[in-house]
Symmetry: C2
């Protein structure tokens, strides 16, 4: 559409050109880019400018660089883990910068998470149910720190979304849910509330075991409502202090 590039820097333009080549498939995973010297010649810019462009691409994990003879810049294979890590970084920052209310975040999180229940009930495996039970055991440990409790909570929900047996769905959900964890962690969990949450986790596992979608959905809805209640009481406690 728009041909007038609004004065982007040369390094940004070159980065865009290479990025487009990768996304369009003209550069395949594992391909080696021309050396910095060659790229300088091709684009008619200095090596410093080319290097800035390459650093931009490296920051997006699109390429990696290796030193030495026959080294250079190579198109990266983007793994699910690397992609999720980036998604979490971006989303976490976004949520942190935009003054999201706890309620809105919580609502979004559980809405997303519920999208896997039907598939999860259908396809759950014993191995994944065991992973969930192990996390529940961890969460039941007395004197567990809040961080450890939350980490185990993330692990539990990761296992839940993995039950859907759809790697694409797992990637999106795990990333989304993980990114919202910092907001969820506004809550400090009392022993009482931990027990409540663990009970609901047990209900989720039980529901998956007998492949009863409705009971899993109910447990998640209850968990959402309970989490929002906890969040509100925290806010209230802060307000009156």
């Amino acid at each position: 559409m728009k041909s007038a590039t609004p004065e982007k820097s040369l390094s940004a333009q070159i980065a865009d050109a290479i990025r487009t080549a990768i996304v369009d498939g003209r550069l395949l995973v594992g391909d080696r880019l021309p050396s910095e010297a060659e790229l300088s010649d091709q684009h008619g810019v200095s090596r410093a400018t080319v290097r800035e462009a390459l650093k931009r691409l490296a920051a997006q994990s699109l390429i990696r660089t290796e030193r030495g003879a026959f080294g250079g810049a190579f198109v990266n294979h983007l793994s699910y883990d690397a992609a999720r890590a980036q998604q979490v970084t971006t989303s976490t920052l976004l949520l942190g910068m935009n003054a999201i209310s706890f309620q809105v975040a919580c609502e979004a999180r559980y809405a997303l998470e519920r999208s896997c229940t039907a598939l999860a009930a259908e396809r759950r495996t014993d191995a994944l149910l065991d992973r969930m039970r192990t996390e529940i055991d961890t969460q039941s440990t007395p004197d567990l720190s809040d961080e450890a409790f939350c980490a185990s909570d993330v692990g539990f929900h990761r296992a839940l979304v993995d039950c859907a047996g759809n790697e694409v769905l797992s990637y999106h959900l795990a990333g989304s849910v993980e990114a919202m964890q910092p907001l969820m962690n506004m809550i400090t969990f009392t022993a009482r509330s931990r027990a409540e949450i663990i009970d609901l986790h047990r209900a989720i596992v039980a529901g998956l075991e007998i492949r009863d979608v409705a009971s899993v959905d109910r447990a998640l809805a209850t968990l959402e409502a309970y989490t929002i209640t906890l969040g509100q009481s925290v806010l209230k406690a802060r307000a009156t202090r």
Copy 2:
């Protein structure tokens, strides 16, 4: 934990240091970083190295740079649009590189999209319903190109997730769905299939209008099944060719 940084380049180390400062809140949105010359001095490296570090951060939209007196690098406000664009880039690349089957992608897409139906039925506004109807009109245009049809399809589904009235949910869903569009576009839509899809879009709008979650869910499920059928017939046609 691990203190031994495995020989990262100086520009990467400096980028990490600044990134951490931003994420931890020591640098706030709008803050101006020291000038490149000052950063060079502080870190004891050349200006070129500092610049490469800054380009890495700029690639993640963490900072922007302005030229001129009192210009410099500023901590960016990460907008929903910018964050979604990045998420789409990462996810699109991930899906393109990992040989995802059409069926898996389709299943994930509609599972995610269904997560907004309950909230959407409750909160849909007339303005958003109108936006959806406008897209349906566009899709009904005779001689519409495949690209235009798909673009309008994305617009329709964006409006649908916006109906949930939860910006965080919209961000995650819109990004996820948009990232899967290239896979969806494996299908070339015949006039017959377009009519079918448009009918289902109409059913979705009608369901939202009367706030009937079940009918919206049914329409989406039908749309998913129909899309998978279309995908399979495309694959079959390719196989026998």
